[in-house]
């Protein structure tokens, strides 16, 4: 019984490989492919399993009853000594998997066998300054090209069959502190990316490029006061200042260096034709130097994909003083209330609140805490604006001695960080990878920078509980209730996937890929991948069988911090591996 089951995939792959080689067209990825992605489970051509980023698969071959028979079919090592955090979501098209690894590497792998088809290694300059490990979060596919962003802030287009560079374009100057780690997306024939920037002095921006040749089509700065442009025949045409004019929500000229980098990329809602992006924290770090809301830092932005015009914004943390980036994904979903269909969008913010917005206009519908402890705000007002607890704001800089330390929860790494949540249309629940931690923050009197006295911030992250930091939560976006939770000792840092088979998948830093019953939270399957799982799992159908893939490789932002959190993770080994699982056909029948 087991012998034929093992052989079959190999035989199938040979057979299908032959069919493919004998002339079946390898279709280029079209706009339709991208928009239909969630409905075509034979391929994954978007980051988020659909442009809305719901990470929901309509496949139900694999379910809570048979998931125990899900088994690895192949694994692929990224190789080299560059084993750092692996945070990509793979894509699958025509039996080929496309994904990225640490240090701006791209791989194309035969999805049936795990055989490497090609690899592209970006040549990185010495002076790149990535924020949080040398990670990358994946590619975009369009036409015959594979796109990704590099740590030195370039967009690169590769031929999908050869991995050869078709074009490469500098989005921003890495010497100024810019980089790209998020997956770009292609909407209506435009390749769209944000930028990451870790240095004081950067200004965030979202840009669209022509996927064919890398020509810039529009640029939209994410800080109030900066002009946006559209490009016509190579000429820049003014398209309005972000926020109307400079200085409305910033003092002095600080808007010129305001930060607000949209470093996690974004998603798209076809029903409203809006790009939905989040923005990072404002600069400088100390909020006392920049009284005002500091738009559009720590915000969600809705943009017209044709020209980058901002249609609405929602600022989750105005006048941020805790590094609560507002980059977390805004996931579009519809629900019915009082007989009316609501076009909503939800986001689980770094700041600990879960927000449900009307995605047609950005209006606040409701918000509630999704972690157990929030100290920086006592709640949200009717417009979703935080009611601050001023005692939780770090003090003004300037004194020689170490300033008063304040304890704040969540920690700046966030109640939820970059790792994307998933929305299941059957259960109506969001599955949110969250962390329960706080931090002590203080101003540092004795610090230096480049041969000069400096005013730094001191901080240390503290777990709130002895036995866990990570909590995978099932959250009802309508009632605001938590339906179930699953605790994890180390902080969660991997993306989530949910399926029509009543399953939720996510990984842990301890190295497990785990599956849960979407309704009850019962853990129904797990597999040890050998290193921490920070990637976002996918599932797809190939040759009539349901597959699951995820990358494994510990790293990312968490290990960069010391203190008590470091003790929980110091023994985790690094890695760089792509794992693929399937439920063999004959075992589906068994159940």
């Amino acid at each position: 019984m087991t012998q034929p089951a093992r052989r079959q995939p190999f035989a199938l792959s040979v057979l299908l490989g032959a069919i493919l080689l004998s002339g079946q067209a390898m279709a280029a990825v079209s706009d339709q492919d991208i928009l239909q992605d969630p409905k075509n489970p034979g391929q994954i051509v978007t980051n988020g399993l659909g442009v809305q980023g719901q990470r929901y698969s309509p496949l139900d071959t694999l379910n809570v009853d048979n998931v125990k028979d899900l088994r690895p079919v192949w694994a692929f090592s990224f190789g080299g000594e560059k084993q750092r955090g692996q945070q990509a979501q793979p894509m699958v098209k025509d039996g080929v998997m496309y994904l990225t690894g640490s240090y701006s590497r791209v791989f194309a792998v035969d999805a049936r066998t795990g055989k490497k088809l090609w690899q592209y290694d970006a040549r990185l300059p010495d002076d790149i300054r990535p924020c949080c490990d040398v990670i990358n979060r994946g590619v975009a596919l369009y036409g015959d090209l594979v796109f990704f962003g590099t740590l030195d802030a370039k967009l690169v287009a590769l031929n999908k069959d050869t991995g050869k560079v078709v074009w490469s374009k500098r989005v921003a100057d890495h010497k100024e502190g810019y980089s790209i780690s998020a997956a770009p997306l292609v909407i209506n024939g435009k390749l769209i990316t944000g930028v990451a920037g870790g240095e004081f002095g950067v200004v965030g921006k979202i840009e669209a490029y022509d996927p064919k040749n890398g020509d810039l089509l529009w640029t939209r700065p994410t800080v109030e006061g900066h002009m946006g442009y559209v490009y016509k025949d190579g000429k820049a045409v003014e398209n309005g200042i972000s926020g109307g004019e400079a200085g409305k929500t910033w003092p002095g000229d600080l808007w010129k260096t305001g930060g607000a980098a949209p470093w996690l990329g974004g998603y798209y809602d076809p029903e409203t034709n809006l790009l939905l992006f989040g923005t990072g924290n404002p600069a400088p770090w100390n909020s006392h130097l920049r009284p005002g809301d500091n738009l559009y830092s720590s915000s969600r932005l809705a943009l017209n994909p044709d020209d980058g015009t901002i249609k609405w914004h929602f600022q989750s943390t105005p006048h941020d003083g805790w590094d609560y980036d507002g980059v977390n994904e805004l996931v579009s979903f519809n629900y019915t209330e009082g007989g009316k269909e609501i076009k909503a969008a939800a986001t689980a913010d770094r700041n600990g609140f879960f927000y449900v917005l009307d995605r047609t206009n950005g209006k606040f519908i409701r918000g509630f805490p999704f972690v157990d402890k929030i100290t920086w705000a006592t709640g949200l007002d009717k417009n979703g604006r935080p009611i601050y607890n001023e005692a939780s704001r770090p003090g003004a800089p300037g004194s020689e001695a170490k300033g008063t330390s304040v304890f704040v929860a969540p920690a700046f790494l966030g109640a939820k960080n970059w790792m994307p949540m998933a929305y299941n249309r059957d259960t109506g629940l969001f599955y949110v990878p969250s962390n329960e931690w706080g931090m002590d923050m203080w101003n540092e009197g004795i610090a230096y920078k480049k041969g000069a006295a400096f005013l730094g911030a001191g901080f240390t992250i503290k777990p709130l509980n002895e036995d866990y930091i990570g909590v995978l939560r099932a959250i009802d976006p309508v009632s605001g209730k938590e339906v179930w939770r699953h605790k994890n000792y180390a902080p969660l840092w991997g993306g989530v996937l949910t399926t029509k088979g009543n399953l939720v998948f996510t990984g842990t830093p301890e190295g497990f890929l785990q599956a849960f019953n979407a309704k009850t939270g019962e853990k129904v399957w797990e597999f040890q991948t050998g290193s921490g799982v920070l990637g976002s799992p996918i599932t797809w159908d190939m040759d009539g069988e349901q597959y699951v893939s995820v990358v494994s490789g510990w790293g990312g932002a968490v290990p960069l911090w010391g203190g008590e959190v470091a003790k929980r993770i110091k023994d985790f080994n690094q890695g760089g591996m792509l794992w693929t699982f399937k439920l063999p056909k004959e075992l589906v029948a068994k159940h």
């Binding site: 240095e199 003092p251 002095g252 770094r350 004795i446 230096y448 790293g555 290990p559």
Partner: protein, 291 residues
């Protein structure tokens, strides 16, 4: 995350094979070459003039190498978010982004007992892997202004009316945007570098520039403009106004520190170091230790 993240940078978690090796004094002498880390693009201390390395720290490094009887190899270090990052990347752990290359010696580390003794929340010395020694310069904040637009700087209050340029993410920026409840914030103009702030003053966009004294002295000397003046105002409510600059080596390499200290003292006592400073238009005071 972005701001805080850079503060700590990349931690090398495992991979002992890739970890940088600290050279002992004997290995360094045997190799006939000392690797000295200096900041990149940091005039007048260390910068490249075309392809020629120039600056006070470059010349000091050269003089020290000669005194030790070895060749000089410069390692150009882009400044990190904080000095701790630079010490980590160039003195004790190395960075995977720079092939884990370590310097034997790093210049322009502060000579500050409190800083060297700072401890983290676990009670460990934050810079315990590093020895900071050999003070060779006093540093302080300084304002330069253009007399055509500003008579004198009686106090920093004049910058309510007169725009002043500063480098982003610097103490002058923090100070001028926060002092007197932010009353000077509106006239504080930010530039990516002191050089650009100075250029803005020359172009009439700001009336003054606040930066490190060495940077100001150098810019004033370069400008050859008698209308530029150095202010002598006080800086109320400012924390550290003066500090000493020294060097750093790995804590296992004290033998090198002793040899460098001896060579440095010679350069200070016979006036050669002062001549180097004068060459760049910089004032020089012999640090307290040698008086």
């Amino acid at each position: 995350m972005r701001l805080f993240a850079v503060v700590l940078g990349l931690v090398l978690l495992c991979c002992h094979t890739a970890q940088a090796q600290v050279r002992s004094y004997d290995q360094m002498i045997a190799a006939g070459e000392i690797k000295v880390a200096v900041y990149k693009d940091f005039a007048p201390y260390s910068f490249e003039d075309g392809a020629t390395p120039r600056g006070v720290d470059v010349e000091l490094a050269q003089a020290l190498a000669e005194a030790l009887g070895v060749r000089l190899k410069l390692i150009w270090a882009p400044a990190g978010e904080k000095l701790d990052d630079d010490l980590r990347d160039y003195i004790w752990r190395g960075s995977p982004l720079h092939h884990h290359q370590l310097a034997d010696l790093m210049l322009r580390a502060p000579y500050d007992h409190d800083y060297a003794q700072r401890r983290n929340d676990q009670g460990e010395l934050e810079n315990g892997q590093v020895v900071m020694f050999g003070p060779y310069q006093n540093e302080q904040w300084q304002v330069a202004y253009d007399r055509r637009r500003l008579d004198k700087v009686a106090s920093v209050a004049v910058f309510q009316q007169h725009p002043i340029g500063v480098e982003v993410d610097s103490v002058p920026s923090f100070y001028l945007t926060s002092v007197f409840n932010g009353q000077l914030a509106a006239s504080t103009q930010h530039y990516p570098s002191v050089t650009q702030a100075f250029a803005a003053m020359r172009a009439g966009k700001v009336d003054a520039v606040m930066a490190m004294r060495g940077e100001i002295d150098w810019q004033v000397q370069q400008a050859h403009d008698p209308q530029l003046a150095l202010a002598e105002n006080a800086y109320p409510n400012m924390g550290r106004q003066r500090w000493e600059i020294g060097m750093a080596v790995h804590e296992s390499n004290r033998q090198l520190a002793y040899a460098v200290e001896e060579a440095l003292e010679g350069l200070i006592r016979d006036g050669r170091l002062q001549a180097i400073y004068r060459h760049y238009g910089l004032r020089y005071e012999v640090p307290d230790m040698y008086q």
